[in-house]
């Protein structure tokens, strides 16, 4: 599988993100608490550019011991990237939908090289996944080479 050097890891803010496109394959690379995560830029809902949305902490509800609600609070531990098409929210650390763990972004291999560069894989199924409107999660694997 093709890999891409997208430049120095030190150039990322934390939290931070870059979205790259190469030959129709779009990948979002995230840095959070020093770790890197990468996903195909395809929302499993309808194929939207999920990695290009806003990054906002998960919303929780503070329930008191007597089971009354104290209202909304932002999560201190979970940061989500939100698909700009329809608002589907995905945990940056796992790629899983905030309210439906069966739904997830396609994980993509990412690493930092000895030279300190971020190297990300380019799975070809992402190209077809975009064209297929995100149907089938994760995108179907590539057929074996002829």
């Amino acid at each position: 599988m093709q890999e891409l050097n997208i430049g120095p890891a030190a150039d990322f803010t934390d939290p931070g993100r870059r979205i790259v496109e190469c030959d129709g394959i779009e990948v979002g690379v995230f840095k959070l608490d020093g770790a890197f995560y990468a996903y195909g830029n395809i929302c499993p809902h309808m194929g939207g550019p999920a990695c290009q949305g806003r990054i906002i902490a998960k919303v929780d509800e503070d329930i008191a011991p007597d089971r009354t609600s104290r209202g909304f609070v932002f999560s201190k531990t979970q940061l989500n990237v939100i698909c700009p098409w329809h608002g589907y929210e995905f945990d940056i650390r796992t790629g899983r939908h905030s309210g439906n763990s069966k739904m997830r972004l396609l994980p993509v291999r990412v690493r930092v090289s000895e030279q300190g560069d971020v190297i990300v894989a380019l799975p070809p199924e992402i190209r077809r996944g975009i064209a297929d409107a995100g149907m089938g999660v994760p995108p179907r694997p590539s057929p074996p080479a002829a």
Partner: protein
């Protein structure tokens, strides 16, 4: 080791309210490459008319109400909602900024040869792969709850004039339905008379969010006139926080899930139980933006009750569901979390001939044409009907490709750095 080489990739930016429509929808354009040979009609897209509200206010016939609106516009911070009954502080559709295109399409528009909206609409049509798009208003969808009937009628007149004189003549791919101020039946009659012959007006619409019984005798002349035009009559659903039924709902998700369906249930039930399909057998009815899941529910419920209480609906000659099966429905928001249920739903009202694709763009829960092409239980003929051919028959549209090729749209989009 993978060497650092000259940049082999392009960087994509975060989608914001400043993003170009063609960039926001570039994945939809990629999807459109797989149905290039389809004829595609979008029955329900929207203009955010308050973006051009001064132009619409200027089109109001009544000089006093026009001056009232212009005067309201002078108040700082109130500029774009004069005379409207929308509650702007509770316009939560964009999920508090999470869905930028619903918040605003504030993208650069350089083309000054046509109206700003026409440029935005062309970008959306091209990006989604549409040959035609039918335009509805947005904040005016709640105008049926306006306490001042004369204001609804005046704004309806202004909007219709703006749409038909300023927008629709600019692009033959754009079509419109005339807004009928249903709280004033005589004003509706005047508008049907005025626009019946306008070739860009392909129907008439009532916004469903209102407490007016559709079976009232005051509307019979209106229905007769629309029936005579041969053009369809559409109920476009919506919501309003002011309705007492909904005051218990504390989240927009609850309101949006129920209200759109609620109004369709009310008006459809009154329409059928009072025998309007028998009184206006040639009137073509469309139900817009309530999704599909409510249709089989109401079919079963009304059939069940009707057979016990036939005396209360003496004009009916068939089961309620049979009348519903003669009507047309738009697809968005297409509930598809359970494909078996969706398949049964589509079979219940014969979607192959009665369903019309709708995107609802640029609203927050829009659907792309792939929402239909990706359904595994539909054959190609059904998909082609739903995506365009049903609409062509209903609205008498020429089945002719009018959109650019998807690959050309992708090549010309501006937002890749």
């Amino acid at each position: 080791m993978l060497e650092r080489t000259p940049q082999q990739f392009r960087e994509l930016k975060e989608i914001t309210i400043k993003s170009d429509t063609r960039d926001i929808l570039s994945h939809a354009t990629r999807q459109a490459e797989s149905f290039e040979d389809y004829f595609l009609v979008d029955i329900d897209a929207h203009v955010t008319e308050t973006q051009f509200w001064n132009e619409i206010l200027a089109c109001i016939d009544n000089e006093v109400i026009r001056a009232m609106g212009m005067g309201q516009q002078l108040r700082p911070g109130q500029g774009s909602t004069a005379l409207l009954n929308t509650v702007t502080g509770m316009s939560y559709q964009h999920v508090y900024g999470r869905i930028p295109h619903q918040a605003a399409l504030d993208e650069p528009v350089e083309d000054t040869g046509v109206h700003h909206f026409t440029t935005l609409a062309r970008r959306a049509m091209d990006a989604l792969g549409l040959d035609y798009q039918i335009v509805f208003p947005t904040p005016m969808l709640t105008l049926g709850m306006h306490p001042q009937e004369d204001i609804e009628a005046a704004l309806a007149g202004g909007y219709n004039r703006w749409l038909t004189e300023r927008i629709l003549p600019e692009d033959d791919r754009l079509k419109g339905l005339v807004y009928l101020p249903f709280n004033t039946p005589e004003a509706c009659v005047e508008l049907v008379e005025k626009y019946a012959g306008d070739r860009n007006v392909i129907g008439f619409t009532v916004t469903s969010t209102r407490n007016k019984p559709v079976h009232h005798n005051a509307y019979m002349r209106l229905y007769s006139m629309i029936e005579e035009t041969g053009k369809p009559f559409a109920f476009h659903s919506g919501f309003h926080w002011g309705d007492p039924s909904f005051l218990q709902l504390n989240r927009f998700i609850s309101m949006h899930s129920i209200a759109f369906v609620h109004w369709s249930l009310i008006h459809m039930t009154n329409w059928i139980i009072n025998g309007l399909p028998e009184r206006f057998p040639k009137l073509k009815l469309i139900w817009v933006e309530s999704g599909l899941a409510w249709i089989p529910f109401l079919m079963q419920r009304l059939d069940h009750e009707y057979q016990m209480r036939t005396c209360e609906a003496p004009q009916l000659k068939r089961l309620p569901s049979e009348y519903m099966r003669d009507m047309f429905y738009t697809s968005q928001p297409l509930e598809k979390t359970n494909l078996k249920l969706l398949q049964s739903t589509m079979e219940a009202f014969n979607a192959q001939t009665q369903l019309l694709f709708a995107s609802d763009w640029p609203h927050w829960d829009f659907d792309t044409p792939a929402s239909v092409t990706s359904l595994p239980f539909l054959d190609a003929a059904a998909k082609r009907n739903i995506l365009g051919l049903n609409a062509a028959r209903l609205f008498n549209l020429e089945v002719k490709r009018r959109r650019p090729r998807a690959k050309d749209v992708l090549a010309s989009r501006p937002g890749i750095s």
